[in-house]
């Protein structure tokens, strides 16, 4: 027991001691919070920043010498240097970690460029010249014009494929279905035009293949890159700060709009971003009416009995159930039992391959809705309790029934409370990963849950999620610094998404509060 004279301090000193103690822990908390934000922010933004390219000469631990173009990173220990390089052996990039004395000369290489590929790979090399069909080799100053030319050809091929070849192919398969004769004139005509368009595509493709970029590595070995594979060529070391920022913004654009490439270590995160937002959106649509109706029953209609109290306590306790439990429940009940039954009833011709009986975005949203339901119920009940009794009586006295009173008076006044619940639910659902991996979120989904095919919203499809992407990417991080920083960028994005969703909900709540001010 502390006596009042503890530590020999007087009253004022004791008080200031208590203040400093509590303030100390508050500041620890702040420091933790700020460092998380700074770490995620810095590492996330670093992913987009073009790193300068150096020509590095050095010795391997076994004594053999090497010369490579590389991005150079000093390891946090200060003793080691990490190189991300390209050479004739590993043209598409590799990394190595060396001690400082193994690295010899390090010179900036202004001639060399970072060449990014459509498929997410990259090469660090010095571009030498461009091969263009039926012309002499072109200098590098023409590179943008040539890339536009190639892009034009690609667009033409694309157009022929989608506008001409695909419809003809479709028509031909229709003929097949109706058992039209092989030598029916209409069919022969179609086949002829199909062959003709195919020839044109092939011709364009072979022209495109003739566009090549010749590059050399630091050891002067040459390497040929088809121009059609190239996404961008940046002479990083020559860029001014302004131009570097331009690169950063175009990289952010790619990051937000492109699909992941090279096993989620490169490219963009658009499907994951889309999946996350869509899942949260579906979850909100499901959980809001459920939670609000349940809360209305509990607070307005349920008799004041021990059973009601028990239900209320269990609802609050449900908020503390580990999320993976909900994941297992979602898999066992929603996916297998519910989805399985739906398949038997509605999609029996597709069996044994499951339609709704496999993990998908709808089940994920439903599982998340169950997970966030207690939050919404508790907050809504809190909001309902705050509605002044006088207003309800006033409404009854004007001839309103209980239901009319709830709809016209109680719910509008409780709406800020309901919004608070929805905000908390969104924040929880957007950040939750574990249960999603059981009920529908995958590392890579071939298609988005929304597309142009009927019924447009495919609730049975698996989807990608930022949290799952980060979790998946974290496994690569020990060997590959670049992909690790992509995960930091994804983290940053997830933070921003949650932040934006919250801000929207908070603004909405503020508006409702202002509108339905009471008292």
């Amino acid at each position: 027991m502390f006596s009042r004279q503890s530590f020999g301090l007087n009253a004022v000193q004791r008080q200031s001691f208590v203040i400093s103690l509590t303030a100390f822990f508050t500041s620890l908390l702040l420091i933790a919070l700020v460092s998380v934000l700074i770490l995620i922010g810095m590492r996330g933004m670093a992913y987009f920043w073009p790193e300068p390219i150096y020509m590095v000469a050095g010795k391997h631990p076994d004594g053999t010498a090497f010369t490579v173009f590389a991005n150079v990173f000093e390891e946090p220990s200060g003793k080691d240097v990490r190189l991300k390089y390209s050479d004739s052996q590993y043209p598409y990039g590799s990394q190595k970690q060396l001690t400082k004395d193994q690295v010899g000369r390090v010179n900036l290489a202004p001639e060399s460029a970072e060449i990014k590929f459509q498929d997410g790979r990259r090469v660090l090399a010095t571009p030498e010249y461009i091969i263009v069909p039926s012309k002499p080799a072109q200098g590098l100053e023409k590179i943008n014009a040539v890339m536009d030319e190639v892009a034009l050809i690609t667009a033409q091929i694309e157009e022929l494929n989608t506008q001409k070849l695909a419809p003809i192919h479709e028509a031909l398969s229709q003929f097949d279905k109706r058992d039209v004769d092989e030598d029916a004139p209409a069919r022969e005509k179609l086949v002829a035009s199909f062959t003709e368009y195919q020839k044109r595509v092939e011709a364009l493709e072979s022209t495109r293949e003739e566009y090549e970029l010749w590059v050399t590595f630091a050891d002067k070995s040459a390497f040929v890159i088809p121009m059609s594979d190239i996404q961008s060529v940046d002479f990083v070391s020559r860029l001014s700060t302004f131009e570097k920022w331009k690169v950063v913004f175009s990289e952010i654009g790619v990051f937000l709009s492109d699909s992941p490439k090279q096993a989620n270590t490169s490219g963009g995160v658009f499907p994951a971003l889309f999946g996350t937002v869509l899942m949260v959106f579906l979850m909100t649509i499901i959980v809001t009416p459920f939670g609000v109706l349940a809360a209305i029953y509990l607070s307005e209609y349920a008799p004041h009995s021990a059973l009601t109290t028990t239900i209320r306590v269990s609802v609050s306790n449900m908020a503390g159930v580990p999320s993976i439990v909900y994941g297992v429940f979602g898999l066992g009940f929603f996916v297998y039992t519910l989805g399985g039954s739906i398949d038997e009833l509605l999609f029996s011709d597709a069996l044994p391959s499951p339609t709704m009986g496999s993990p998908g975005i709808f089940w994920a949203a439903l599982t998340m809705a169950i997970l966030t339901l207690p939050v919404v119920i508790v907050a809504t009940e809190e909001g309902l309790r705050r509605v002044p009794e006088g207003l309800k009586t006033g409404s009854y006295a004007l001839g309103a029934t209980k239901f009319e009173t709830i709809v016209r008076t109680v719910l509008p006044i409780a709406s800020p409370g309901i919004m608070t619940g929805v905000i908390l639910a969104i924040a929880r659902a957007a950040g939750e990963v574990a249960p999603l991996m059981l009920v529908g979120a995958v590392k890579f989904a071939p298609a988005l849950p929304i597309d142009g095919e009927f019924p447009y919203l495919h609730l049975d499809r698996q989807f990608m999620h930022l949290g799952v992407l980060i979790y998946d990417g974290a496994f690569h991080s020990q060997t590959d610094g670049k992909s690790a920083s992509m995960m930091f960028a994804a983290c940053l994005l997830l933070l921003i998404v949650v932040f934006i969703l919250n801000i929207l909900a908070v603004l909405l709540r503020a508006r409702l509060r202002k509108r339905y001010i009471t008292g």
Partner: protein, 268 residues
């Protein structure tokens, strides 16, 4: 105190059935085991102001809440006996409570405007009844606000929140809200106890002018108010109707000792 209003009243025992707005017959009411109203019988006359006085907890507010069945909202409330309004016993199960409440308006102690615009507040009841035609609503809002003597003060800001109004204005708005339904009976449960004296006077004048169109039953703790505005006064004590008479008689020569003690302020 100056006698403000002329009263021309009958003896309570001479009120005929046609002149009766509310007839209470042997009303008993319990909250749980507590016997709140004990065998109340009285006739409340039409187009008059009847004041119910008595100590806090004597059951007068509970009694007027019986007239629009507001007591139904409370768990554990049981009652028997009859209350006849318009020739029908409103305590019967067959009564449409919503319709009863539109016919019997009520105003409470604290102004309770809804957190909506002034306009929306006044047409709340009408909209519940399914009135959708904008012109009808506009007319009803205007006439109700005029009856409640609020129109001139709010006509330029009908669509502002009702919470910008002062307490007295809010109370008149609540009265207008009830009047918009054209009730036959208006129940006022201590309508001025949260208001300042000047506003109180204003509301009292308003009551007098409303007498033409509806019967007013007011619960009040203010003796002067009861004697100023009411035609009839009933004194309650511990759930029983002790004395009921025209206000002049009751305040000048009460029959019962208890009444005299209460109105002269000797207890309560």
């Amino acid at each position: 105190m100056l006698k403000l209003f002329e009263h021309n009243t009958l003896n309570v025992d001479d009120i005929s059935a046609e002149q009766t707005a509310v007839e209470v017959r042997n009303l008993n009411l319990w909250f749980g085991n507590k016997h709140v109203l004990n065998d109340i019988s009285m006739r409340i006359p039409k187009n008059k102001i009847t004041a119910l006085i008595g100590q806090s907890g004597c059951g007068k507010s509970t009694l007027i809440s019986c007239f629009n069945r507001l007591n139904d909202l409370y768990d554990g409330c049981k009652y028997n006996g009859e209350i006849i309004i318009d020739g029908r016993n409103i305590n019967s199960r067959k009564i449409n409570v919503s319709r009863l409440r539109t016919n019997v308006g009520m105003v409470f102690q604290r102004p309770n405007p809804f957190p909506m615009s002034i306009y929306e507040n006044v047409c709340y009841g009408l909209k519940l009844q399914g009135v959708k035609v904008r012109r009808h609503l506009d007319d009803a809002v205007e006439s109700a606000l005029k009856q409640a003597a609020l129109w001139d003060e709010v006509k330029d800001r009908l669509f502002e929140s009702a919470h910008v109004l002062s307490g007295g204005q809010q109370q008149r708005l609540v009265i207008a809200r009830a009047l918009a339904l054209k009730p036959d009976i208006l129940l006022l449960d201590e309508p001025t106890s949260a208001l300042d004296p000047l506003t109180t006077l204003f509301i009292e004048e308003l009551m007098d002018s409303l007498k033409k169109q509806c019967t007013i039953i007011i619960v009040t703790h203010n003796m002067q108010q009861a004697s100023r505005v009411s035609d009839y006064t009933a004194f309650f004590h511990q759930g029983r109707l002790i004395e009921y008479a025209d206000s002049d008689t009751l305040f000048t020569m009460p029959e019962k000792k208890q009444t005299e003690d209460y109105i002269t302020g000797r207890y309560g």
